[in-house]
């Protein structure tokens, strides 16, 4: 399990809003690997337009977001995921 009390470093502060705390999917599931060949998995971290979704939205931790970004950029070279999507299709 990841460290649950990460907010301990700052002053104790109640979380705003009612949403559940986001968990990095790669930390939660060790079997889930970041691979530039896995276009389907990478596509789930892209918007419809093909932009990379920020970590603050997906909850991915900094380390995994870094690996993910690299993998997406490699996958774009290989046309596994799009650079952009043009509307209307």
């Amino acid at each position: 399990m990841a460290r649950p009390e990460r907010s301990e470093r700052g002053r104790p502060q109640r979380r705003r809003g009612m949403g559940r705390r986001k968990v990095c999917r790669f930390c939660a599931d060790k079997g889930m690997l970041i691979d530039h060949k896995d276009g389907r998995m990478l596509a789930s971290f892209l918007t419809e337009r093909g932009k990379i979704i920020p970590a603050r939205v997906t909850g991915t931790c900094a380390r995994h977001q870094r690996h993910l970004t690299n993998a997406i950029k490699q996958a774009r070279t290989l046309a596994m995921v799009p650079y952009q999507t043009v509307y209307p299709q």
């Binding site: 399990m1 990841a2 649950p4 009390e5 990460r6 907010s7 301990e8 104790p12 502060q13 109640r14 979380r15 559940r20 705390r21 968990v23 999917r25 939660a28 599931d29 079997g31 889930m32 691979d35 530039h36 060949k37 896995d38 276009g39 389907r40 998995m41 490699q74 774009r76 070279t77 290989l78 046309a79 596994m80 995921v81 799009p82 650079y83």
Partner: protein, 140 residues
């Protein structure tokens, strides 16, 4: 010079046909082995849809090579791949020494159903993270 683990994914022009692709794969195999590299795995993914068109092609024949080579050998392999006209794209990536070999699941077409591990609600991480800071705040 120590050799390293690499993987190279090739996109081959689909108009080569099956025989042309096999022929090209044989040539690339010869190229890699000619550099003194040891091929551990070759995966042929077949013709797959591309996310965007490359050279007016919507699809390409995908082949994955896994091998051990020296960095100098890789440079030579890359140089030769660039010269091969039917190769639309190629990307060589260094693999970790302990990384598992490329899983066959990537060979499936992107639209085929594949088991994807979705785990969100089966671990009470969220509750733990929420109650802990609150309890601490009351203590201070």
């Amino acid at each position: 010079m120590a050799d390293r683990r690499y993987e190279t994914l090739l996109l081959i022009h689909p108009e080569q046909g099956d025989a042309g692709c096999k022929d090209l794969i044989g040539r690339v195999r010869g190229l890699i082995e000619g550099q003194g590299a040891a091929i551990s795995q070759v995966q042929e993914w077949g013709v797959r849809e591309l996310a965007y068109t490359i050279g007016r092609q919507r699809r390409a024949y995908h082949v994955l090579f896994e091998y051990r080579a020296t960095p100098a050998a890789l440079a030579e392999i890359e140089r030769n791949l660039k010269l091969m006209e039917p190769v639309l794209r190629h990307l060589s990536v260094r693999q970790g020494e302990n990384a598992p070999p490329a899983a066959a699941r990537f060979a499936q077409a992107a639209d085929a159903p594949a088991p994807r591990p979705v785990r969100e609600a089966d671990e009470p991480v969220a509750e733990g993270g929420e109650t802990a800071p609150m309890a601490e705040g009351e203590g201070v």
